[in-house]
């Protein structure tokens, strides 16, 4: 039996889905949990932030950060975790790339306030709360702008088996080795190498269950997306939306790679393409806008605004 590994798990702004996925390793938890010395996990164990702050620096073996840092409190937690832990894991796509919350960067913060607080379909004349909520950052930055991570475990959420693999490696003190392949590697559909005739919206027509979805005209980002999911969507009939982000090196621009890939299935005429893909940014950068080039430029724009 190996020694217990000390671990701290923090949560930024997120849906908790990733931790849910961790819990979803089910019976395996029984094997893993005893080996973990949980130092901090607010939602599960009764620790306060001050407890975390009080640990000596680098005294915890492993830190896990789920979600992205939208509020000042999130940022503080992230930095604290980094200070206290030897290994820091970006856990889930939000933590790795910005994730779904990153799409907020498509808009100005004020627009977001409008939708969230001021005017919505269900109410109007609301107010942005100023009490009992941590101040919100005007822009979503990828977590790696604030701190360096040692390990990226993307996924929306990371699959339970991926989590188990990762935890097992940590416990055994080994490097986490993740296969570099994209979703296509795991996809069992047949490819015939035909150019895409037309881009179809997901609700159009009936897809052939055995053939590559992209070839049938459905935008499937599987070929540009890290396949740590092992192709669960595509093998169940749904196109890949890219939730695991780009394959290694994960610093590459997922959306750009997707476009370069999709464009190579010419002969699609530019006007047709523009019409058939109504929302390229939402399509190709859904999960990783803040950490993309375009997202980075968006952040620079915000920085410049704030500097004024």
């Amino acid at each position: 039996m190996t020694e217990q590994v000390s671990i701290a798990l923090g949560q930024g702004s997120s849906c908790w889905g990733c931790f849910q996925s961790l819990i979803d390793i089910h019976l395996k938890l029984a094997d893993v949990l005893p080996l973990l010395d949980i130092k901090y996990w607010q939602a599960v164990v009764d620790y306060k932030l001050s407890d975390l702050e009080s640990y000596p620096d680098k005294s915890i073996a492993v830190g896990v950060y789920e979600g992205m840092a939208r509020t000042e409190e999130d940022v503080h937690l992230l930095k604290t975790l980094r200070a206290k832990c030897k290994i820091l894991i970006a856990f889930g796509t939000c933590s790795c790339f910005g994730g779904i919350p990153g799409m907020a960067n498509f808009y100005d913060i004020e627009d977001c306030y409008d939708v969230k607080f001021r005017n919505n379909k269900t109410f109007s004349d609301g107010e942005v709360p100023s009490e009992n909520v941590p101040p919100i950052e005007s822009i979503v930055r990828p977590n790696r702008h604030y701190v360096d991570f040692d390990v990226y475990l993307p996924g929306c959420p990371p699959t339970s088996s991926l989590i188990l693999t990762a935890l097992t490696s940590l416990i055994e003190g080994k490097e986490i080795e993740l296969p570099p392949h994209t979703v296509c590697h795991y996809c069992s559909r047949e490819k015939k190498e035909t150019p895409v005739p037309e881009i179809l919206r997901p609700f159009k027509g009936n897809a052939d269950p055995d053939r590559c979805l992209l070839e049938q005209g459905y935008i499937c980002l599987g070929s540009a997306t890290w396949g740590l999911c092992e192709g669960q969507c595509v093998n169940k009939g749904v196109t890949c939306r890219g939730c695991f982000g780009p394959p290694p090196p994960i610093t590459q621009d997922h959306g750009a790679a997707s476009i370069s890939m999709l464009g190579s299935y010419a002969p699609l005429l530019p006007d047709e393409l523009k019409e058939q893909v109504p929302d390229p940014i939402g399509y190709f950068w859904r999960f990783d806008y803040p950490s993309s080039h375009l997202g980075n430029m968006r952040i620079k724009r915000e920085d410049a605004k704030n500097a004024k």
Binding site: T182, C184, K191, A224, P249
Partner: protein, 583 residues
């Protein structure tokens, strides 16, 4: 970058007389360049391409132990080959050379802005230096070529190609599914423009081919399986009757599978009367003093021809093209038959007697009072059988009135269309087909007998409708291409090709779709199969590398790393000098 060797770059800025130096402060560029990362030597020189300049590079490579060379001078389109040779002479791999274009792209187009031009020159050199640091030596590769050509189709084109190649001293395997050699020409009685019959033309060729020790003739046979790449194909040829199979190692292939004459059912009463025949059928009628009607074997006195049957039909797939040979063939046949007949009529849309001597035949026919009558494109003649007689009604464009003619024989000059099994042949040899249904050449203007599949040639009517003489020229042309491959014994294949990192490949097939040359296939020896570049087929465009979403394809000599390094060197020189990454 796997190269462990630390880059040691030499930078040479060319004055090009005052062509560059007149606008760009070359001394300054050389001085600034000396400070760029990895640069160990930088200088300026009057003419880099002159002997003295070339010697300078060689000397400095030795003196400073340079392993990369950057020359900033004219367009690389002009002198890249020159300097690649120089660095090779200096003992470096030719791909460790990089050129910045300070003449065509700087001094000549910014002559009035010396300051900005100098700045631009510095940036270009900075970018080139950055790229140079990431250049990799590439091996110079060749593949050997099996000295044997497979010719598929033993018509006049196939025979000509076979004889040429064999006479040139190389082996030929000549295959035809027919049991006899000679294709269509064998049946023809009225060739044009020279007054010969098919057998007269063919028999000497067939005899030579049969006797030739370097020609292996396999009639009644088909290529069943075909695989491999330029110089190294494998063909399995099967005797259709016996099913016996033979395997051949093949260096090059010439496809001369020809055409088939269109059977015009539904046009002008074809099939409704035995005396309505196609031009091809007329050509096969036994040559004798009198032409006999097929129906009752009596002497025919009146004959009519209708042109463009199944050709030039706008909007009808596979029949839009002009069949090229028919106008002249009809004119020739009409002219010949006019001597034995009372009346000869030609109904046409337009007369296309374009070739050598063709116009003379046309003129001869007219001088013999063969009647040429043009019918309107939008209103074709009608053919009815009235009282057992073939009755043609049409409107003559010039006379502007409706005419009627009752010939003893009606000949329909029908289209040349691809043979029925052309798709099968196309698949077998990875050929593409154009809208007319025939095979697509590599380039319709400048590479009409080669195809996108390296090592596979097309000739004759396999490529498009054409006449016998033109097919023969094609055949010799295609033979020249095959011989060129075999004569050298090996073929150098580009080093600047793409390369798949199989560990990273996720089998998404994107590259296969992207490649215009079919150079990428799935390597079935992997599980799951991964992409594999057949380097002999790769032309180096790099589309696959841009398309590959897994970073599994490296475009040699134009790697992502090299390109990004240039972008960084221009826009973010600080980061570059620290060797950072994009973000």
């Amino acid at each position: 970058m796997s190269d462990a060797e630390e880059p040691r770059i030499g930078v040479f800025i060319c004055h090009c007389g005052h062509n560059i130096a007149g606008t760009v402060d070359v001394k300054k560029v050389a001085k600034v360049a000396a400070e760029f990362p990895h640069v160990v030597f930088s200088t300026d020189e009057m003419f880099m391409c002159a002997d003295s300049g070339q010697q300078l590079i060689k000397d400095k490579v030795k003196e400073y132990n340079l392993n990369r060379v950057v020359v900033a001078s004219c367009s690389p389109r002009m002198h890249e080959p020159t300097f690649r040779k120089v660095v090779e002479e200096a003992g470096l791999n030719r791909y460790l050379y990089e050129q910045a274009n300070l003449r065509e792209h700087v001094s000549w187009c910014h002559m009035r802005e010396p300051g900005a031009a100098t700045e631009k020159a510095i940036d270009l050199v900075r970018m080139s230096v950055a790229r140079a640091a990431r250049l990799e030596a590439l091996p110079l590769k060749t593949v050997k070529v099996e000295p044997r050509t497979l010719i598929v189709g033993a018509g006049i084109a196939g025979l000509r190609a076979a004889l040429d190649i064999a006479n040139r001293g190389f082996e030929v395997v000549l295959v035809d599914k027919d049991s006899e050699l000679g294709g269509h020409v064998r049946h023809w009685t009225h060739m044009f423009p020279d007054d010969k019959s098919g057998p007269e033309v063919l028999n000497p060729m067939i005899e030579k081919a049969r006797k030739h020790k370097r020609i292996t003739i396999l009639t009644g046979s088909k290529v069943r399986e075909f695989d491999g790449y330029i110089g190294n194909f494998k063909a399995t040829i099967e005797n259709i009757k016996t099913g016996d199979q033979k395997e051949f190692d093949i260096g090059a292939v010439i496809v001369t599978t020809g055409f088939t004459p269109f059977k015009p059912y539904g046009y002008f009463g074809y099939g409704e009367h035995p005396d309505i025949v196609t031009l091809a059928e007329l050509q096969m009628m036994p040559p004798r003093k009198d032409l006999l009607k097929p129906s009752d074997k009596t002497k025919a006195k009146k004959i009519a021809f209708i042109g463009c049957v199944g050709s030039r039909e706008y909007g009808k797939k596979g029949h839009e093209h002009c069949s090229r040979y028919c106008c002249s063939a009809v004119a020739k046949a009409a002219s010949d038959l006019r001597d034995k007949m009372d009346e000869v009529l030609i109904l046409y849309k337009s007369i296309r007697t374009y070739g050598k001597g063709h116009e003379d035949i046309h003129r001869l026919a007219r001088s013999k009072f063969v009647i040429f009558s043009r019918y309107p494109i939008e209103k074709e003649p009608t053919v009815e059988i009235i009282d057992g007689k073939i009755t043609i009604k049409w409107e003559d464009v010039f006379a502007d009135e409706e005419l009627i003619f009752q010939p003893d024989i009606l000949v329909l000059a029908t289209a040349m269309i691809p043979p029925e099994d052309i798709e099968e042949t196309a698949k077998l040899f990875s050929l593409t087909r154009s809208a007319d249904g025939f095979f697509n050449p590599e380039h319709i203007k400048l590479a009409p007998v080669t195809t996108h599949t390296a090592g596979i040639m097309i000739a004759g009517t396999a490529q498009a409708a054409k006449n016998a003489s033109e097919s023969v020229i094609d055949a010799s042309g295609a033979a020249a291409k095959a011989v060129a491959l075999m004569a050298r014994g090996e073929v150098e294949i580009e080093s600047t090709v793409s390369h798949v990192l199989s560990d990273l490949c996720s089998s998404c097939h994107t590259c296969i779709t992207a490649c215009p040359y079919g150079a990428i296939s799935m390597d079935e020896s992997h599980d799951p199969p991964v992409a594999l570049v057949t380097e002999a087929k790769c032309h180096g465009c790099g589309t696959c590398a841009a398309a590959c979403p897994s970073n599994a394809i490296v475009m040699m000599h134009s790697t992502d790393d090299q390109i990004i390094s240039m972008i960084q060197a221009y826009l973010s020189p600080m980061t570059e000098s620290e060797g950072g990454s994009v973000q």
